[in-house]
């Protein structure tokens, strides 16, 4: 489609301008490299050890995807369960809230203890950060269904399941996707933090490595890679949203 092509060109143009501004600003204002290194230096550093970045990228991507998928699915599921079972919601929802106040980072040892040094452990942290917003938004979305539409479906003799699948979930979909977009970013954050619990590959490892050796170029390289992954993933989720939630794309 020419529209998407035009968008792509605009995007590339925007990136190119940003790159030039970055490079130019560093050179022009003589910014000290440990505040902000030149973009070209960073890219060269990445090119020097491409495998490390590619491997890290893929590994983090895998963790992110698993965490996102499971967190998203669990979040929607719990949203639906809470919507249906008021008592369950009142009993468990506060615990969900509380669970979100536990800083995983303080329990690295426990995570390793329970889930080992596996990809799974990282995915679980991504999951942990992801599911909560999805649950909240699913619940909210389900609650905004027009009662008159519910009445209509019920007058057709619709079962609760049909009501859910044909009316409530579609109505909630726009809201769910808001949370999923947020979750796309959060699951990556979770994966990266998860990699800080003793791992050898991943963007989180590269970031940590660079942070503590104060290798500013490597910090920026890891940040760029993470930003690329995050923005790309977000864009994919947003694209899926545009396809699935076409009717509310009124703008």
């Amino acid at each position: 489609m020419p529209v998407s092509l035009r968008k792509l060109i605009r995007l590339l143009l925007g990136l190119a301008i940003a790159a030039v501004v970055w490079e130019g600003a560093v050179l022009l204002f003589g910014i000290r490299p440990y505040y902000l290194p030149r973009l070209s230096t960073i890219l060269l550093a990445m090119a020097a050890t491409p495998r490390a970045y590619v491997d890290g990228f893929l590994r983090t991507l895998a963790e992110t995807l698993i965490g996102f998928a499971s967190g998203g699915a669990f979040g929607v599921l719990m949203g639906v369960a809470f919507f249906r079972l008021r008592a369950l919601r009142e009993m468990v929802f506060p615990i969900f809230v509380v669970s979100q106040t536990i800083p995983v980072i303080a329990f690295g040892a426990l995570v390793v203890l329970w889930f080992g040094n596996t990809l799974l452990a990282k995915a679980i942290i991504a999951f942990y950060l992801t599911f909560f917003p999805v649950t909240v938004n699913t619940l909210l979305g389900l609650e905004t269904v027009d009662p008159k539409q519910v009445d209509l479906m019920r007058s057709f003799g619709a079962s609760n399941r049909q009501l859910l699948l044909r009316l409530q979930l579609p109505t909630a979909l726009p809201q769910i996707f808001v949370a999923l977009r947020l979750a796309a970013s959060l699951s990556l954050v979770g994966a990266i933090v998860g990699e800080w619990f003793g791992d050898t590959t991943g963007l989180g490892v590269l970031l940590l490595q660079a942070m503590f050796t104060e290798n500013v170029v490597a910090i920026w390289a890891a940040l760029l890679a993470a930003a690329l992954l995050g923005t790309g993933f977000y864009a994919v989720v947003a694209a899926v949203e545009r396809r699935l939630v076409f009717w509310s794309a009124e703008q």
């Binding site: 440990y34 040892a109 050898t200 590269l206 940590l208 490595q209 050796t213 104060e214 490597a218 390289a221």
Partner: protein, 313 residues
Amino acid sequence: PAAELQKASLRLKWLPQAQFAGFYVAAAKGYYKAEGIDLTINPGGPNLLTENLVATGADTFGLSGGTDSVFAARDKGLPIVCIGVSHQITPFIFVARKDGPVKTIQDFKGKTVTTWFTGANHVLTGMLAKEGIKPDELKIQPQQVSVTPFVDGSVDVVTATYYNEFYTIQSRMPKDSLKTFVAEDYGITFPRDTLIVAEATAKEKPELVKAFLRASLKGWKDAFSDPKGAVDTVMAVAPTLDRAQQEFMLTEVKRLMTAGAAGKNGLFWIDADAVKTAHDFFLKYGVISKPVDLAAAYDASFIQSIPAADRLP
């Protein structure tokens, strides 16, 4: 034959870097396999307590924080034993600017000093105590990841390890513009980077422990004799590291590991006197709540069982 290999893991205190070169060299050269151990090296991370992981059995061996963390772990009832000490002298130094207001440790008073609360703070407290200074006479702040505040002059004294931060500082400021304060000059020694195992392992699998120590020692000796090759081995695991920095680190680590009693007794020697001094100090300052049974906490028998020739660097 792989079937007879015994599975084990070593938890480092941090990510792969030349600080742990010997272990990586030993693994790469198959020294652990030769001893019948299928060893996995697990890196550490922030807030990842090696003592905790070893105590719970998640890892077999651990390179933990130091004598201070071993005391703390024992104090809290974690069933771990130290089987070797890597850095024989304090790896921390305190750095000030030569042209700045801090000329002697007395000048610390009223100045901004940043330090890590992961052990280095005790070194500082100890040094100050020897000079009769109370910690609340200076502005001690938690030190952040970057040394930039010091380089920029917003901090008067910064804590550094010889092998990492000191390198960064020197790369940003001329070496001769710096004034350093070394713990040993004030009669303080906090050996760090302790090798630990669970009590159960020490009791039930002494052969495994010894085999591990033997292989590790070989690896370290190789690393010291061929630093370039050792850095290659480390960088194969962590390719984004800065080579110059790693070479510097290995040099410094060698100095720390071969200092003091190690010169006479070899690598990973447990210097009972240094341990005792540190223990008494921690007890005095309330870092640990009650005296620790040092004999149970520090078991030198494993390292001593290895022929001195194999231990000496």
